[in-house]
């Protein structure tokens, strides 16, 4: 969007500021534009006192909702409280820098940002992104957040009806905008040759190691394929609560010396890792246009995944991604074996993916989002400012 003349101010309400700067640098975004709100900053406390004094009822209500929604989860209560206390500083930023649109990635924590922004700066437009997580969880505070939205965006058509069922204001427009991948960047990496012994074959998994990703299926599928391919290795990029259990499973299956847990990598390193795979597999049973698959497709790496909603649409009729019936591990293994054994399958899959991936070009997504924001503002963008929070 910055390439299209939109002034974007990324705002981080929580997380490690250094990591955020690294991410922004990796994406070529000037880090001085970013606002990293921290309790060490006096302006955060000043803004908080100002908002509490000026809107005591609204602030008290927000605190009451926060406690009510998280009473059974002390961890969420504390984390949400930290975000709520920083929200007035974001409001001050919106007022001072005359921000036209605040774009919120809907999660649990930004739920407390939106009401404060809308109360303090009613003219500012509020755009909310809803992903799979949001639709599935439907936490009460998140549902309340929808009442303040001027527009909703999602990346999967299948979510539109779910959102219509969730939202409170019927007239709020819902736009489907893909979470794009940087095809230009991918094409640069795609042209590079990748180091490694010629005989070695890498099968890859890139995802959070959480139960809902079913990475145990990936290990079992690898076990089935590995019996036929003596030099095949499985590289797992990502980290998460399941890691120890998955390492144990690899030992149990007798494949531990052929599975490498690479941990969480930066975005650039992740792309490099994907580019070195012969095949990327995703065995999650619940996904909607996963970025990993899009990036692999952009990098010319054939992918294998379960035929679940979202991925089926991405697969362009089963050609761009090799699909297996959900939960059928041996079919995942079979699709991988076909790709490893037959270069014609690889060529067919990659060509279909190349045709399909343009739908996910990040430039096209940015243009759509820009047009959406322009339609929300009276004067239109790109002279306006935009704040994105996550």
């Amino acid at each position: 969007m910055t390439d299209q003349g939109v002034d974007v101010i990324p705002v981080a309400l929580r997380g490690d500021p250094r990591r955020l700067r690294e991410r922004l640098r990796a994406w070529g975004i000037a880090t001085q534009a970013a606002e990293l709100l921290s309790f060490r900053q006096a302006r955060v406390w000043r803004s908080l006192l100002w908002f509490a004094a000026r809107h005591p009822v609204a602030f008290t209500m927000q605190v009451a909702w926060l406690v009510r929604d998280n009473i059974l989860s002390p961890l969420h209560l504390v984390k949400s409280a930290f975000v709520l206390l920083k929200a007035p500083a974001l409001l001050a930023l919106v007022i001072q820098r005359r921000v036209d649109v605040v774009h919120v990635f809907w999660g649990h924590y930004p739920s407390f940002v939106a009401p404060i922004v809308k109360i303090g700066a009613p003219a500012c437009r509020l755009s909310i992104f809803l992903g799979a997580y949001s639709v599935r969880r439907s936490i009460p505070s998140q549902r309340r957040l929808l009442a303040y939205a001027d527009c909703l965006t999602t990346h999967y058509e299948g979510h539109v009806d779910d959102i219509r069922n969730l939202r409170l204001r019927t007239e709020t427009p819902i736009a489907v905008i893909r979470r794009g991948v940087d095809l230009a960047r991918a094409s640069k990496i795609r042209g590079l040759s990748h180091a490694g012994p010629q005989f070695e074959e890498r099968l890859g998994v890139v995802c959070t190691l959480a139960p809902y990703k079913s990475v145990d299926h990936a290990l079992r599928a690898f076990k089935l394929v590995s019996q036929r391919r003596p030099f095949l290795e499985l590289h797992i990029v990502g980290d998460g609560p399941e890691r120890a259990a998955l390492e144990n499973l690899a030992r149990t299956l007798g494949i531990v010396d052929r599975v490498r847990f690479l941990g969480r990598l930066g975005h650039a390193d992740t792309l490099e890792a994907i580019a070195g795979f012969k095949v990327l597999m995703l065995t999650s049973l619940s996904e909607f246009y996963p970025n990993t698959l899009k990036e692999a497709m952009a990098l010319g790496i054939p992918c294998v995944a379960y035929a679940v909603p979202g991925i089926v649409e991405m697969a362009a009729g089963g050609h761009g991604i090799r699909l297996a019936r959900p939960g059928r591990i041996e079919e995942i293994a079979q699709r991988i074996a076909e790709l490893l054994e037959d270069p014609a399958h690889v060529t067919q899959t990659v060509s279909a993916a190349d045709r399909q991936i343009h739908e996910f070009d990040i430039q096209a997504s940015a243009a759509k989002l820009t047009a959406l924001f322009q339609s929300l503002t009276v004067d239109g963008l790109p002279s306006a400012h935009l704040v994105a929070t996550k």
């Binding site: 139960p211 079913s214 145990d216 299926h217 079992r220 036929r228 391919r229 591990i329 079919e331 079979q334």
Partner: protein, 602 residues
């Protein structure tokens, strides 16, 4: 008659409808075939068959059940077909895709294919091991055949004593060795390339079967309707034939569900064949005739009753001749009689419920495995208590006093290692468990870490099923030119069953819970509640009635098996006028003795 024709004629019983031989590559490669015509009965379906270019030649045994679907796909790509056979589809697929085609096949098969362009010969066996294939490496080449008897005709053979000991303990010899050192079974799913110089290379092709060591903890057990749909599709495919079809019916759960689905899917009358007995001893635990016939009538079928008549010794001789291996399952004798009757009534295809027990935890040992294999302390305590009570419970003691990694194997054993010395001469009885269990330990090692139930099931699926159950089904039915088909054993059904959790398989101490639910949903009255009954013969009664003949056979000084048996046991047999040994052990001794005699004479 050439040697190739002579060897092919040894398979005449498998294919009474035609025969053919072809010499290729300047006579260096010979293919022979005996035809049992099931699809496209015209002469156009004769084998060995070549593709239209004459470059690929095949001799093939089995059925590809999705061949019509594959043929339509190939037609859409511009291929034309001369016949209505699945063989031609195989050849066309090979020309298009090479051996990668194997992953697309759904069926039972064993074939040898020669490519005249490269001079290479390929062989493959289906991944479950429904159709048999044997291989013998010779000084000047390699020979393959559907039955070992053919390969014995290619030179001297010697007996692999360890295989016989395994057969004595398990009722079948597991793994690649079945009794002869020079001939081995081709493993289920094995695909090989034979170079022109005779070098064999194993190739990584063929469909991948699901991991039968159990689903992941996150995987939900499939809905019953999924299994019903898979079974229904499988039954529909297995009814594909241009000849009349029969169904082996025991009145138990597996065959009752199968019969119900057949009655719903078949457009032609299908006849049931039931093995009934009115001479069963109470120890034989066989259904009485009326129960089986009533179950068949409720399903609306006509039934052919097959009853065991005659003595045990001659039928054992017939069974050993048919199987060609020391396999001693009483059910094989029942199927032998059923196949004989089916052929006489013009039914050349026989459906059977084989495989359901292995896929859905249907054996009693699966209940023991689920209860005790994951609880070694409890197993040891029960083992001690069982020893104290003695009697039949002593068997539990003999199993669980051994090393835990042997437990799944010992659950399969009819004769425990501790009892070997009672039957065998000391030098054989002292064989180490490592040597005895070597082929099974290779399979068991693959399921380390899985639950006790899954370890036992994994072992059954990979040894007991192909080496014993499917082995005898194919041989005894083909001995009469009848093709045995097993609708429970298609990849979609196997795959669905692989995803049932242990708890979904065994409910209230009874296995095959998903199949019981299907039976109830299909209205198969009674079968879901019946205790397990398979095909069996009244063995206790037969041993008792035929004891004089049995005694004469086993104690005959010229009997080849005499060198194996403990002299004290032979003396007891000699001196007793009634059976003094477990009937199943008696049957195994007769089988081994006859097989050794057969080998000596054959």
């Amino acid at each position: 008659m050439t040697q190739l024709e002579e060897l092919t004629s040894r398979l005449a019983h498998r294919g009474p409808d035609g025969h053919g031989t072809t010499l290729l590559n300047g006579g260096r490669v010979g293919l022979g075939h005996r035809r049992l015509a099931i699809l496209d009965l015209s002469p156009a379906g004769a084998q060995p068959m070549s593709d239209e270019t004459g470059t690929a030649w095949i001799t093939y045994n089995g059925e590809i059940f999705n061949f019509r679907e594959l043929r339509e796909q190939l037609r859409a790509q511009g291929h034309t077909f001369r016949t209505e056979t699945d063989t031609e589809v195989l050849l066309t697929l090979y020309r298009r895709e090479g051996l990668r085609m194997l992953a697309r096949l759904r069926g039972m098969y064993a074939f040898v294919l020669h490519d005249t362009r490269s001079g290479e010969t390929f062989y493959a066996r289906d991944p479950i091991g429904i159709k048999p294939l044997y291989l013998r490496e010779l000084d000047d080449g390699v020979a393959l055949a559907s039955e070992p008897d053919v390969l014995r005709g290619l030179g001297a053979t010697s007996i692999d004593m360890l295989s016989l000991l395994r057969a004595l303990m398990l009722l079948y010899p597991p793994g690649p060795r079945f009794g002869l050192r020079e001939v081995r079974r081709v493993a289920p799913g094995e695909v090989g390339r034979i170079d022109p110089d005779g070098k064999i290379t194993l190739l990584p092709f063929g469909p991948i079967l699901p991991d039968l060591r159990g689903p992941g903890s996150l995987t939900r057990s499939p809905e019953t309707t999924v299994l019903t749909d898979d079974l229904r599709s499988s039954v529909r495919e297995h009814l594909t034939a241009d000849v009349p079809v029969g169904l082996a019916f025991s009145g138990g759960l597996d065959s009752s569900v199968l019969a119900r689905l057949v009655s719903e899917e078949s457009t032609r009358p299908v006849r049931l064949f039931s093995f009934v007995s009115q001479m069963a001893d109470s120890a034989d635990r066989l259904d009485d005739r009326d129960v089986t016939l009533e179950a068949a009538r409720r399903l609306g079928f006509e039934v052919s009753e097959v009853e065991f008549t005659g003595a045990l010794v001659p039928v054992v001789d017939r069974m050993v001749g048919a199987i060609g291996e020391p396999v001693a399952d009483p059910a094989a004798i029942a199927f032998l009689r059923i196949a004989e009757r089916a052929r006489a009534e013009g039914r050349y295809v026989m459906l059977s419920g084989h495989g359901a027990d292995e896929l859905l935890a249907g054996y009693r040992r699966h209940i023991v495995a689920a209860t005790l294999l994951d609880r070694p302390r409890l197993a040891r305590i029960i083992s001690l208590a069982a020893a104290w009570f003695g009697g039949d419970l002593n068997r539990i003691h003999k199993i669980f006093r051994e090393r835990p990694d042997y437990w799944p194997i010992l659950l399969q054993c009819v004769l425990c290692p501790a009892d070997l010395h009672e039957v065998l001469v000391p030098e054989l009885a002292n064989t180490s468990l490592e040597d005895l269990f070597d082929p099974l330990m290779n399979i068991a090692g693959d399921s380390a870490g899985a639950s006790g139930l899954r370890r036992a099931m994994h072992l059954d699926f990979n040894s007991y099923l192909p080496d014993q159950n499917l082995n005898h089904l194919d041989k005894v039915s083909m001995a009469f030119g009848v093709e045995g088909r097993v609708p429970y054993l298609t990849p979609p059904v196997v795959s669905t069953c692989a995803y049932y959790s242990d708890a979904a398989l065994i409910e209230s101490w009874r296995g095959k819970a998903p199949l019981r639910k299907i039976a109830a949903e299909l209205g198969v009255v009674g079968a879901a509640a019946k205790p397990k009954r398979g095909f069996g013969i009244p063995l206790t009664r037969l041993v008792s009635d035929g004891w004089d003949d049995i005694r004469a056979r086993l104690t005959d000084p010229r009997a080849p098996g005499r060198m194996l048996w403990n002299p004290a046991l032979l003396r007891r047999i000699q001196d007793s006028s009634i059976s003094v040994v477990d009937p199943r052990i008696v049957l195994t001794m007769l089988v081994i003795d006859r097989w050794m005699e057969y080998d000596r004479s054959g």
